[in-house]
Each structure stands twice: as C-alpha cells, then as structure tokens.
C-alpha cells in the first residue's frame, strides 16, 4: 500500500488477524463493492458511485466557477479547506511525454467543451508547480482562454511539492491569491 512502511504494514496485518470473522467479511465486501461500484462522474470525472457525483449535483455550488485538478486526491484536499464553492474538473493526470502521457489521454477536450457550453465564467488551474504541472497549465489555459477567464492558484508552496501534501491553510490562502494567466 502506498505510504505505508514495513512496520505499519505489520501492525495492520496483525490487527486484522485479531478481528472477528464477521468484521473481516464485511470489510472485504466493502472493498469489493467499492471496486465494482465506484466509477467516474460523467461531468467532472471525480470518483463517484453515481453517474453524476454529489458535488456536481449540489445546487448550492457556483456553476460558473471551475477548478481544474490533476486527480481526485487533489479534489479531496481542496474540499477539506471548505473555502471553495465552485465545481471541479479532474484531468486524470498531467502531460508528461516521459511517462507516455499526451494531452489526448487526459480529460482536456471534455474540459474545453464544458467551459464553452456550460457558461463557465472563470477556470482556476490548481495543478502542482512541477514541470509537468506547468506544462499542463500552459497547454490548457491557451485552449480555454477564448471562452473564460483563466487564473492559477498562487502557491506559497515549495517548488516540487504536490498539492496533496499542502496543508489546508496554505491551500485556502492560495485560492484567494490566484493570479490571472497571461
């Protein structure tokens, strides 16, 4: 499992072995259910059990504000700040020829279509400040600019750090301090 060292893994395994069989069975069922039922939201591509996710369904959210992130982990990080009231668009990765990821493999054309057709007023790019993140931001912003205002999260983050690890205060501040892309 990512982020878990050998010692923690051992502790978790021993803990599981001590649980009653009933508990383990429902845990295993839950895992299976998650695997088979959780798919992608058809609008924003966030993880969702329904065709349209909770966030996209929520009528309280600002429909004309769109935040673009690399994957669902970043979305969850931004949701924890409780600062952002708009909708999201999950690209599913970053442009990186080194890893064989070209723009056509990401949810970029669906993003442009969404911005064009759904009357989006502003798009906030919240991609990590790495080479791949910047490449994707620059690429995407050129495509969207004819249709909406494009701004970018102003990171007070150290170069190279990923969005996921940024603490909530930094993220909330970054959302306020976004800059328009030229």
């Amino acid at each position: 499992m990512p982020g878990i060292g050998p010692r923690t893994a051992q502790r978790l395994a021993l803990h599981l072995l001590r649980q009653p069989e009933e508990k383990i069975r429902s845990f295993a069922d839950a895992l299976l259910a998650a695997r088979s039922q959780v798919g992608q939201c058809q609008k924003c591509f966030h993880l969702s059990a329904d065709p349209i996710c909770e966030i996209c369904k929520n009528t309280e959210r600002e429909k004309d504000l769109l935040c673009v992130i690399a994957d669902s982990r970043d979305l969850l990080a931004l949701e924890r700040t409780r600062e952002y009231k708009g909708l999201y668009h999950v690209l599913g990765g970053l442009i990186s020829p080194l890893d064989g990821v070209g723009p056509e493999m990401l949810m970029i054309s669906s993003l442009v279509k969404r911005v064009d057709q759904e009357g989006v007023r502003e798009v906030i790019l919240a991609l990590p400040p790495s080479v791949e993140g910047d490449t994707t931001s620059l690429y995407v912003s050129r495509l969207i600019k004819p249709f909406a205002k494009v701004s970018r999260i102003a990171y007070g983050l150290p170069m190279g750090s990923e969005l996921e690890y940024a603490d909530e205060v930094t993220l909330a501040r970054a959302l306020e301090g976004r800059t328009t892309m030229d």
Binding site: I95, S96, P97, L98, G100, G102, P103, E104, V131, E132, D134, T135, T136, L138, Y139, R142, L143, P158, M159, G160
Partner: protein, 356 residues
C-alpha cells in the same frame, strides 16, 4: 570512523582504494549536499548497509548531520534539529573541492566547464539546483515528445511545444543570468591568480558564449521573449535532429590566455596553471561572499603539480584556508607543505578503526 582535525592542514596518505577520497567526499557531502564523484546515493552507502551517516562539528559550534538511506532518501539535521528543507544544511560549513577530475577543466569538453560553473553557482545560491533540475527535466520531456510526436496532430504539437518554450525561456534566462554573473565575479580573481602564478607573463580572461542569444542589457523580460523567439525559429531543425539547439545546455565557457582560446592554443603546463587559477578564484569568491574562508579539499591533485606550482599554491592557501589533502605518497609534497600539518598515513582505514 571518527576524525579530529587538529591542524590547519590534514594530509591523508595511502595507496589507491583505501578510502582517502571517500573521506573527502563525505566532507563535501555534508557541506554542500553533493559529491563531485558520484550522483547516486546508492553508491555512497556501504554495500551491505542500509544507511550512511555523516556528522561534522565545526569550531564555531554548529553540528551538521546528513543521513543517506538506501530507501526513503536523505535526512538532514542541524544542531540536532531535523531540517524540513535539506538545503538549510548548506551554510555553516562551506568547501571548495579540487580533484583530479578538475584537471581537464581547460582542455576538456564544454560540459565539464558548465558542470564546474554550476557547482560554483550552487555554492553561492543553493536554490540554483531547482533551476538546473527543472531545465534538465524540460529537456528530457521535450526530447521524448519529439520521439513520439507523430502520434499528435500538428495543432496539438504546436500547442504543447509552446508550453515547453514558455517554461524553457524563463528557466534559461535565469540560468544564463546566474552563470554570467558568476563568471563576472570569477574573471578578475582568476586573472589576478594567473598573473601571480605566471610571474606576470600571462593574462587570463573568460568569454561566456551563451547557448541562447542574450540581446542587449540584462533584462528578464526581453531575454525571455527573445529566447522564446529563438526556440520557435529552431523548431524545424529540432524536428529533424531531435535535439534543441537553444539554451544553457549549449553554453560554452571560453577560457582565453593572452587573448587566444586556451583549450586549443595553450600548452599543457599553461592549461594546468589556469585550472589552478580558476580553483583559487573560486575559493576566494566563496570566501568573499560569505565572509568566512571555506575548507579546501584537494583530492589527488598534488602529484600533478610541479614544485613551483605547489609552492605558489601553498603561498596562496597559506594559513587562511583549512585544507584537507589526499595523496598516494608523502614524498609528492614539498617539505614546506609537510610542516605544521596533521599527517595521517593509512594502509587501510576501512571498517571501524578510530583514527584519532
């Protein structure tokens, strides 16, 4: 292994392979987070161990610790406090390393001179590493893009290359500016040392031939815009050749002796003197900027310096710089070098021998 450096000079004597260079490398690592010999931490850890630990205590009281781990990367401590940014370890102790690899600085390939200059700039500005890392990543992404570019439509290609160009122009501008500035600082110092080392006969100058055309006065915006134009202009060529021809990776640092390019026209002896002048200039510059003399690490270069150059070096280094020097035999040193030195002769100091 524990070593107490009690004199201003430490001479480490022993046959090849006993670990002399290793010791200097450890010092270089804890001072600067990098090694001149090796770029992978895996190779810096004993083959049957999972980590290597380097600790250094400076006279002024700071305690530095760097831990290299086979898994999970590095960890750094300053005065027993774990550092969030490893770069913060750089500062309390500084060093300039002169190794056998530097001997080809004047006569070798351009990449050698770029690497040397990058090490100098990194000493002066640790964040420079970020710029270098970013640029090399951009180059690699770009060349991979060309390899598979037939999969993309022309429009996609154009848009993606634009995204690369914009970033490369900015990072290139910042690298060029820092390299140029460092050379402007080094030039008068190197030229002074060359004059001293050649008894006033030789004049040393530096010609920075940047891999992008830097138009007019130093200005981030205009340089950036102009480099973007240059990148666009070479794109067709790049498509044919598969490599980008504009940027700091194409920099050449020309060293001139009495006005002609030393790489081609200077004698081997003159070239060696120039290397010495450059290293002394580097030492002096780092000392000037930080107001504190850096350590001088001389790895295996003594045998390559004749009597006159050794004496001149001693005069230059004198009492001002604490130096740690390796050689295979004690007799390569002029007798005046041996005086007032702590001499450590090691047949084999592998393992856990306390050599205090």
């Amino acid at each position: 292994m524990e070593l107490d450096v009690v004199e201003n000079r430490l001479l480490l004597i022993g046959p090849n392979g006993v670990g002399k260079s290793n010791l200097l490398e450890a010092i270089e690592l804890v001072c600067s987070l990098r090694s001149h010999r090796c770029s992978r931490d895996q190779d810096l850890i004993h083959w049957d161990k999972n980590e290597a630990i380097i600790k250094a205590a400076a006279n002024h009281g700071d305690e530095l610790q760097l831990e290299l781990r086979r898994r999970g990367g590095r960890k750094a401590w300053l005065n027993e406090k774990a550092l969030v940014r490893q770069l913060d370890l750089i500062g309390p102790l500084r060093c300039v390393c002169f190794s056998a690899l530097d001997l080809d600085l004047v006569r070798g390939e351009p990449a050698l001179r770029r690497n040397w200059l990058d090490r100098v700039v990194q000493q002066l500005e640790p964040v420079y590493s970020d710029l270098l890392g970013r640029f090399s990543k951009l180059l690699r992404q770009r060349s991979h893009f060309w390899r598979n570019s037939r999969n993309h439509s022309t429009h996609d290609r154009f848009a993606l290359l634009n995204a690369f160009d914009i970033q490369m122009a900015l990072v290139s501008t910042r690298i060029h500016r820092r390299r140029k500035r460092a050379l402007e600082y080094l030039q008068p110092l190197a030229s002074q040392w060359q004059e001293t080392l050649s008894n006033g006969k030789e004049n040393f100058s530096i010609d920075y031939q940047s891999g992008s055309v830097l138009q007019g006065e130093e200005d981030e915006h205009s340089w950036r815009v102009s480099i973007e134009e240059q990148l666009l202009a070479q794109r067709d060529n790049e498509e044919r050749l598969g490599s980008c021809s504009v940027g700091p990776h194409r920099d050449e640092i020309g060293f001139l002796l009495n006005g002609v390019f030393a790489r081609r026209f200077a004698s081997a002896g003159q070239q060696r003197t120039m290397v010495l002048a450059l290293k002394l200039a580097e030492l002096e510059l780092v000392g000037q900027i930080y107001g504190d003399s850096p350590l001088l690490l001389l790895d295996d270069v003594f045998a390559e310096l004749d009597r006159t150059r050794q004496l001149l070096l001693l005069e230059a280094v004198g009492e001002k710089y604490q130096s740690l020097i390796t050689a295979t035999h004690l007799d390569v040193f002029e007798s005046s070098w041996k005086a007032d030195s702590q001499i450590l002769e090691a047949e084999n100091f592998k393992g856990f021998i306390d050599i205090r």
